[in-house]
Amino acid sequence: MSIWARIAGWAALIFGLLYFFVPLAGLTEFSLKAERGVYGFKAYRDVLGDPQFQATFGFSVIMALVTIVIGVLIVVPTAFWVRLKMPWARPYVEFITLMPLVIPAIVIVFGYIRLYNTSSWLPLTGSIMGTNLLLAMGYTVLALPYMYRAVDTGLRTIDVATLTEAAQSLGAGWVTILGRVILPNVIPAVLSGAFLTFAIVIGEFTLAALLDRPAFGPYLQRIGANKAYAPFALSVIAFGITWACMGLIQLVTRFSRHTKAAQ
């Protein structure tokens, strides 16, 4: 490794790290400047005390949890069934699950609004619960590529066929097999997918804004236009949540590796 290559390597790395950390530093610094002349947590106090923040954040948390439940209920049985009975269909199913990465979210939600409007055969946007359901389904679609890949990778590490036969010979039905044999064995993978889903849903803007639901993303955008420091404090919180979710994924992956090694 020549000296010039080393210098170039360091230069690239330092430039990149500055690129990552300067905006985060700028964001944090700005969010602490709400009081003239001193650094303080005024913006955070204001934001956390805002009933609108509590309402929208609560809404997004519930949406994320509902999305995770729907996602697990759809993805785990499907991935299990494909591995067990229809391995030939795996590339096709995988291809379908990658579609949400190709079709922009704004196009999908455009389709929802036109297809499920009040005068259609399934008027989901006609009621609040219907719209919430539509939003949860949309989030499940957005999270599908990540959820499916995580669960499918998890299933690869266990012997699905043997476990299923063993359970069947002990008299277990499909629900028991899925809920008490397969799911516990792929829990680390499911949790990885779940945390990533949570990180995606909590700050999502496009779907919530166009379906007109009171979620955290649109709230953040709205107060960004009206308030000076609050949106920056909220962005720091949002980044913290993303960071925490990714940290938890690392933790879960590491934890599962340890249990494997202990066996």
């Binding site: 990552f20 700028g26 700005f30």
Partner: protein, 289 residues
Amino acid sequence: MSSVPIIRRLPLTWVGLLPFLIFITLFLILPTMHIVIGAFQDRDGAFTFQNLANLNTGTIPASYWISIKISAASAALGCLIGFAMAAAVTFGAVPRWIKAPLMTFSGVASNFAGVPLAFAFLATFGPVGLVTLFLRNNFGIVLQRDLGFNILSFWGLTVTYLFFQIPLMILIIAPALEGLRREWREAAEVLGATTAQYWRMVALPILFPSLLGTFALLFANAFGAVATAIALTGSALNIVPIQLFAQIRGDVLGDPNLGYAMAFGMILVTAVANILYIWLRIRAERWLK
């Protein structure tokens, strides 16, 4: 024994996929088909190409053009910087322990798009941002006046998108760089190749499909980004997602089918980019296992 009738069971294994297929049909395929079909219909539902032709009117061509320019610029710069960083940690120019935390951080940063990202860059390069004030107070440089840089512009958006483009590039290209075998370099050196020749005639041709494929992926990634652009520029910059957003909210084009055509154009651009990515990835895997 031959009297026992052979019970032929109907092939029912596909029933297990039914929940998934119903979900996908209702919430992904039908909505998308509705848009695609609508793009080829007039107001009375008859088949027409007029909507696609109408895309060439008003502000629409300009918005596609600026969207494509921003996506291409952020993808190209993202590829370049991400490649340099991935190469630095892979080939040992910097200590190897840096690689693991860098990959983890890239995983986080590539997901940190959306509204908060816009505020991070406003707080840094905006009128009273950290870097803006630093340059003004210490060097007397005013970003907007002296360098012509404005966060609510083409370059502003490109620079902001780079925050998730660079990490995405690192995540995808680092494994490809790992796949370059030491033997190839040694063989080239034994045959008398210089470092530049090795890169130009061995490494880059092998990496080329990966590089081009990742460029296509980053392009699609930037093209479909909505939230960051809206939070950053409002409607100051007329890119496709922002215009489509306004169209869905209030039919600003005054023609619903033209809105469908615009969405169809978006699918087309991202689909072409993604197909290119998949195709090039298959090609790249011939050498890089």
